[in-house]
């Protein structure tokens, strides 16, 4: 623990149970910036200029971060201070990102060309391409699997991380955009068009359940045995129990909540219109704080890096 006891106390007052030292890398699309938030202190640590309308983000276990700028089509690898480690410019419509540290691959979805780029995580050089359904957006990785939400295909594509081979195409609700694996391995997919979440067994390629949530579900996160879904038009987060899949609460957050991730027992939600993140205590389901960001936070992907040296 490197923080003073005062800082640690302030942390818990300001940010509930966010893990001290965790950083949030919030891609702010309208403001062309990366807001780096100190979740323990509840403050914006620094704001890094990031041209080209950044949306997609993927943190690395080493504390660095990958970003995807939708307009300029630039994929960047930055360290926590904002120093550029690598950069490449793609064609098409790069949007979502996910990192496979084990195999050294960064995956980037191409909205316009129904494919996922496989990039070398260190050099960002293209290694391969994977064919998806129409308009792939969100990407998620866990347990040796890569999943993409293929928005206009109304389905999820599942690939084997090691062999990069296609395993399944699973029909879901209308216009899936964001998705994430739960700690238990099930895959949760927000369907923007049908206002529900598809629960999938991605390895078997089957749908286990469909949960109604709020208006325009965008992102999914998990903490304390609960699932949290940002409702972009609802200005809210739907909470459900992971074991029973029963709804637990609807929590008011900022306007147009989008990206969602977890730090310790704290759920962090990026509010695109309001230029803030909302912190939610996953145990009490109370809002414990907000932190200002640059204009238009999307945080589309895994955007919270655990303190690399706690």
């Amino acid at each position: 623990m490197r923080l003073s006891s005062l800082s640690a106390l302030l942390c818990c007052l300001a940010a509930g149970s966010a893990a001290a030292g965790d950083l949030a890398f919030v891609t702010c699309q309208n403001g062309d910036a990366l807001s780096v938030l100190d979740l323990g202190a509840g403050t914006e640590l620094r704001r890094i200029p990031l041209p080209g309308k950044p949306a997609g983000v993927a943190v690395s276990p080493d504390g660095s971060v990958y970003t995807v700028s939708a307009d300029s089509k630039a994929v960047r690898h930055l360290d926590a201070t904002g120093a550029l480690l690598a950069e490449t410019v793609l064609d098409g419509g790069p949007i979502g990102a996910a990192l496979d540290p084990e195999n050294g691959h960064l995956f980037v979805s191409d909205w316009y060309n129904a494919r996922i780029w496989v990039l070398d995580a260190e050099t960002l050089a293209p290694v391969a391409e994977l064919a998806t359904g129409a308009e792939p957006a969100g990407l998620a990785i866990q347990d040796g699997l890569l999943a993409s939400a293929d928005r206009d295909g109304d389905m999820v594509s599942v690939f084997d991380l090691a062999s990069l081979s296609l395993l399944h195409r699973i029909p879901v609700g209308e216009r899936p955009f964001g998705l994430r694996f739960a700690p238990d391995g099930r895959l949760f997919v927000g369907n923007v068009g049908t206002n529900d979440v598809s629960v999938l067994d991605a390895r078997e390629g089957v749908t286990l359940a469909t949960l109604p949530v709020g208006e325009r579900p965008y992102g999914v996160g998990f903490a304390r045995g609960r699932g949290f879904v940002t409702n972009q038009y609802g200005d809210s987060v739907s909470v459900f129990d992971l074991a029973t899949l029963e709804p637990l609460a609807t929590i008011d957050v900022g306007e147009y909540p989008e990206g969602i991730d977890v730090s310790g027992d704290t759920i962090v939600v990026a509010n695109w219109f309001e230029n803030t993140v909302t912190l939610i205590d996953a145990a009490t389901l109370e809002v414990t704080g907000t932190i200002a960001t640059a204009d238009g936070p999307r945080a589309f992907g895994r955007f919270i890096a655990e303190d690399p040296a706690p």
Binding site: A55, G93, I95, Y112, E215, Y233, D235, W272, F273, G296
Partner: protein, 179 residues
């Protein structure tokens, strides 16, 4: 260069910017005005989802469902038989004097946006007057790569801004500018 119909109905202020080749980013517009009238008076004019006659570009409003969630309205622009915009109400609070709606159907030649949602809110000023805020979130008219100039990000922002400004200007005129 085709000018969106709604702008032709307002003023010819659209200066198209050069199109850049890029993927779609959602745009946001926030405009506001401060007027002298009390919030309740302002809300009585603009708080009815079924009556948008306060906006100078709107010829008529027809719809169903009053101010209930999922109520619909069709706005006819300019004149009888003019172009139309179909909208649906998805949030409404008389208490907070706020409503949110989205466009279900519009020709991008009329209003060059897609995936549009809007919010109108009235809040009190210390002076006894009202702060009227109109906010929108939307994508450009052509969500594909390399859109033509009349359907790009700048065209979408210019069109929405012009619509909001015209509406707020009319309200400022109607209720008087806040002192």
């Amino acid at each position: 260069m085709r000018i969106p119909r709604i702008l032709a109905l307002l003023v010819g202020l659209l200066i198209p910017a050069m199109a850049l080749a890029h993927g779609p980013s959602r745009q946001k517009a926030t405009l506001s005005t401060d007027v002298a009238a009390a919030p309740a008076e302002v809300w009585s004019v603009i708080g009815n989802f079924q009556d948008m006659s306060w906006h100078p570009a709107i010829f008529s409003t027809t719809g169903q469902g009053g101010n209930e969630i999922d109520a619909t309205r069709q706005l006819t622009l300019g004149e009888a038989g003019g172009p139309t915009i179909d909208e649906i109400l998805y949030k409404y609070s008389a208490e907070k004097m706020s409503y949110s709606y989205r466009i279900e159907q519009v020709d991008v030649a009329v209003l060059p946006v897609t995936n549009y949602s809007g919010h109108i809110t009235v809040t009190p000023l210390d002076s006894g007057g009202s702060h009227i805020e109109w906010k929108g979130a939307f994508y450009r008219g052509d969500p594909l790569n390399d859109p033509p100039p009349e359907l790009n990000d700048e065209a979408a922002m210019a069109a929405v801004t012009a619509v909001y400004q015209a509406g707020l200007d009319a309200l400022t005129e109607r209720f008087g500018a806040a002192q």
